[in-house]
Symmetry: C2
Subunit: 310 residues, 2 copies
């Protein structure tokens, strides 16, 4: 059984209560704590040695990545992070200097975004290090940007450049908190997600929640330098476009807004964030499924990319 099927079976088992606004299935849970004008965002995310980072990886970068992933989910709701707890699972023989360096990496990023590290716990995880972050934040009441709001005619945008994150970006990326709040404050953002599984996979989360489909333009998808270099270096490597669609761990924002606002957004973005690319890569359709257009025509896109249509 795949993780996704398991989660679908578990969701009906989860009890709710009157304060729960958004539960399982979006980037963060949304909870009404009774704060005037605000709702609480709540998120956890874990990284595991050998899965999300290599044994012996620079510990500051491990700490950075663990917290940044969680911050990226707060960004995807257009929220502001406030406080984190750290759960550290450690083999019995651990090097205290490594742990301190992990905390320095987390602490530097936390301070940059005004996040308190409010404590946590260490526990034994005998075979490998595991680092789980729990994060709370807030968003203006009723203003959390969810996955399910995309509408036919929306333009589909992505920040930054995609693919090849494993070459280094996955350890150093900056969560798009400021950009996401700016978007939600100035534009009618219908839906948003952060790219963790890869564009082809995460777009489906928006489309499933929104009961919609999408048309994408292959030449509009921003390819990272890492993805382009890798595809050139070895003929066996993924083509850069496939990498951009499926590599995952980009931690950029994917969002939709009414198509009539697309040009206005691009102009305003260039003034506000001149160093960060923003690309209109397609549009939302009433027809289900995802189609990608390149110079050979229009082809259906699966969650695994488009390669088996070649």
């Amino acid at each position: 059984m795949q993780e996704f099927e398991l989660i679908q079976k578990l969701i009906p088992l989860l009890p709710g209560n009157a304060s729960l606004r958004v539960g399982a299935g979006d980037d963060c849970a949304v909870i009404d704590m009774g704060v005037p004008g605000r709702e609480l965002l709540f998120k956890t995310d874990a990284v595991v040695e050998g899965i999300h980072f290599k044994p012996g990886e620079e510990p500051e970068r491990i700490g950075h990545k663990a917290l940044a992933r969680c911050l990226s989910d707060i960004a995807a709701m257009a929220g502001t992070p406030l406080a984190a707890l750290v759960t550290l699972g450690l083999p019995p023989q651990f090097d205290p200097a490594v742990i301190e360096a992990i905390y320095r990496g987390m602490g530097t990023l936390a301070e940059r975004h005004g996040v308190a590290i409010a404590g946590g716990e260490t526990t034994t995880n005998p075979d490998r290090m595991l680092l789980s972050i729990a994060l709370i934040g807030w968003v203006e009441r009723g203003k959390a940007v969810l996955r399910g709001g995309a509408r036919p005619g929306d333009a589909l945008f992505v920040t930054g450049e995609l693919g090849g994150s494993l070459a280094g970006k996955h350890l150093d990326f900056q969560p798009r908190l400021e950009e996401a709040r700016w978007l939600a404050r100035h534009f009618e953002i219908h839906s948003m997600i952060d790219l963790s599984d890869g564009l082809a996979g995460d777009l489906r989360h928006i489309l499933k929640a929104s009961h919609a489909g999408a048309d994408m333009l292959a030449t509009a998808i921003p390819l990272s330098r890492a993805a382009r270099l890798a595809s050139r270096a070895k003929s066996s490597a993924k083509p850069a476009l496939l990498a951009a669609l499926t590599d995952g761990e980009d931690f950029e924002l994917l969002f939709t807004l009414p198509g009539r606002l697309a040009v206005q957004l691009l102009d305003a973005w260039k003034k506000e964030f001149p160093k960060l690319r923003l690309s209109c890569i397609g549009k939302i359709t009433a027809d289900a499924g995802v189609r990608i257009r390149d110079k050979q025509g229009v082809r259906p896109l699966t969650v695994h990319g488009y390669s088996h249509f070649k």
Copy 2:
């Protein structure tokens, strides 16, 4: 390096912010989110296969224990839990029926206390199952009961019976949420903690935070049936009193209040919670350290118990 020393080195590295009221070092973090009349409580706790539960343990009980531990920390602040996120680390080959049963165990306990399970994530933990709970709750503004408020002359109380939890209670215990809120509402509770490491260890957390010591009366310490049976069954087993002091995982409340209120509390408790034992086991002193009195006299108590003074 021990876990405790590591944590002492890490705490200065943790950034704070204006909303953080209580950070690392108490049962929960306390955060001011701007809720009128209330503060937020925030806690995480993990259980690991082979450490906190045996491989093959009944999965409903694993789920119950994981959530109950976290709820017990909310209880120790006299708080009310609100919503939880679940992080499940799983080996690649997992049995979906086991996972569903874990969620049923958590869900039953969550519903009993009005707690929403707001989502979470599954991740790969290749070698063993790991279950981490993140929990938010609330407490009346300024009314969280901390560890550091014990004063000389306070009476020292404990709920329930101690020792031998591994015989079964550690998987089935009921967090003392209702009892803790009742205590804080009706009495001037100076300090409180839930017993996870064992009475001898957890009492030190209160004393260290309160800059105080304690005198205990050996015959007043409530011994569980499990601890008494175990000590009788094998001559090599821990004496029941040592088990009560050091076994851990009792998840009872240990708290202090002014000595003059002790009798009044015992009377009121019997009416309110006739089925749950409450014991006055000693008093807080200005002198540091812990002393225990039995029929042979007064002896110092270490965190490991008193056995090596025999």
